[in-house]
Structure formats: structure tokens, C-alpha cells
Amino acid sequence: MIKIDGVKISGISACVPKSVVNNEDLTENQKLINSIGVKQRHISSENQHTMDLCVFAAENLIKEMDIEKNSIDAVIFVSQTPEYQLPATACIIQDILKLKNNIVAYDVNLGCSGYTHGLFLASSLVQSGFNNVLLLVGDTVSKIVEENDSSSNLLFGDAGSATVIAQQVDSDISFVLGSDGSGFESIIVDNSNNKNTNNKNDFLTMNGAEVFTFTLKRIPQLIKDTLAYSKLNKDEVNHCIFHQANLFMLETLARSIDINFDKFLISIDKYGNTSSASIPVTICHNREKIVKNPEKVLMAGFGVGLSWSTAVSDLKGAIILPILEV
């Protein structure tokens, strides 16, 4: 648990592919569609990658915030679908966005918990003296889902996002973070270029029941710890912006932590589970609700790793852009 003083989220944007897939066109299993809560998803074209979506989101945000590019001291790219195994996609983005050379640029390999972990890293850099930090978070999981995988092929959508974290006196963000690698096989692409394995698989495999029980065991306590550390009563929280794992899981969590589901902001119906981007996508999709009531926002990411993290922040004054389609 850590509170980082003197930082704020000053802008958020998200970008999705134009192409929309309706789940009712793929299955007649209405019970499954209702349970996961995904009616449609935006799916990237063959030549459209996570980096492209994040760059569009970043260009849009930099323009709308009217930020001097020279004031961006770091770019962090959080994704499990980077351009290459090496080099880091953040370095490529530095060049595409024409950011200065004396910049910190690196990638972080995290998914469901990636946005809140990324906020923690960006906030730490700002607290250490950096000016604006550009956090780019996204995934194109549709590219690593096997077509006939019934547990995944109706769930995931593609998206990228950009967030600017900046210095702000009298503002802070509180974090609770953790990992448990004993469950690493629960969500995995078992295709390592550096390790001999007899089960090489280029596609994502997910043990939904294992991930579900991990969530039940870990996340209610995580939320209790977060609220206690932030000295917040659960009734004081204005918005719960959780990783959009699936609708059934979100409803189950809301019951388990006894927070009214009306406080849970949702994007999974229109965008699916957008992996690391699901929190910023949900923020941008619900921007009008957040702008009306921007204080005491509880964000929670949890999943692949297994890992988890929460962030409690005010979004007062933050520029939140509508979702861009490209």
C-alpha cells in the first residue's frame, strides 16, 4: 500500500478499431452472451496493432490537452501484445510521436491489472521529479484468441489508451498492488521463444473457473484494504471502475464487497473485455457520469499473472475524451 503525493491524472483518451463484431452473429447461446455481458466488440484489422491504437489515442490526447511534447519526460507502454519481443514498443512510440530523445521509454508486460500498475509507475516517476508522463495501455487480444475457443472468442475486444500523469500540489493517488505467480498458468500464451516446451501454443488459453475463484478469494479483501488505506467508506466511493473481466464476475464482486452495482461503470457490453485497456475505455465511455462527479474514483485491475492492483484518485479537472474509432 502506498500513497503518492503531488500527482494527478490530467487526461485520458481511448481508441478502438472501427470494425465491430456482434456476438449474436457468432452464437445462439444467449445465456452465455448475457452472462459475460458482451453484445459486441471492436476487432482490429490484420495490419492494425496495439501500438497503432495507443498512438492514435496519444496523438488525440496531446492535441486536445495542448501539451508541449518537450514536457513529456517518460512514455510507458503497458501491453501483452507489443510490436516485437524486442525492442520495447515504447522506444518506437518515442519516434512516432516525435517526443524528445532525453526521455525514459519502456514496456511493461501486464494485462488485466496493467492500467493501475502503469498508473503506479507513472505516478512514481512524477513524484521523483518528472513532468508529464505518458502512459499508453492497450491490447489486441483478438489476434491471440483461437477461433474455436468458446471460453475466449466471444469475450475479448481490442483497444488502446493514453493517459497523462502530471504534477499537482494537494493531489494524491493511493495504490494497493500485488502478485501471485502460483497461478501463472491460469491465463497464458504457452509459446516461449526462450524456453523448450512440449506444449507450444500460439494462442491464449484461459482457465475461467480458476480465474474466477482467484477473483473471489483475492479481490474483495483487496477492495477492503484499499478503502481502509484510503480512509474511505464504501458509500463515499462515487465510481467503481473495475477491469471489465466479464459482467457476471463484476456483479458477483459487487455483491461480495457489498457496493451497489449502480456505482460500477460498465463498458463490456459495447467493447468486450479489452484487457489492459478496459479501465481507461470504461472511463472514456462513461465520461459524462465521471465529469459530473469526479471525486473518489476506485479503480481495480486483476487477472493475468496472476496480479492485481487498485488506485484511488480524483479525476477532477481531468480531460476525458470520447472514444475514438480508427
Binding site: S151, T213, F248, T252, S256
Partner: protein, 71 residues
Amino acid sequence: MTKDEILKIIANTIEVDSVEESLQLNDDIWDSLAIIIFIAAINQDYGKILDPEEVFSAKTAKDLVDMSMQD
């Protein structure tokens, strides 16, 4: 927690009026979604988190009753 309560949860999970302990959990009714719904219902009603591997391996409704009622 009683046997009848667990059987009712199983029935709700697979969307039928009632089930007997002898019910065979074949792939048609006991899929990954049913497993998650059952685990969630037991957790909500009794605060217990079942082992998903055990729930997946259950052959009959009685297996589910036994593991749910186990201390």
C-alpha cells in the same frame, strides 16, 4: 447448509425445476459457465469457495453436494 439447498442451487445453475443426487453431470449441462455460476452461488450463500478442479471433475450432483457440505 442442507442437501436439498445444494440440489436447489444445482437446479438453478442448469435452469431446471429440480434435480436428484443421481443426476449425471455430462458435458451438455455441466460446462464452464455452469461451473462458474455454481461456484459463485455457493460462495454467495455460504461464503465458501470451492476448488474449481473438483467442481469440474464432479460426475454427479451428489459429488457436488458432498464437496459443498464438506468442512
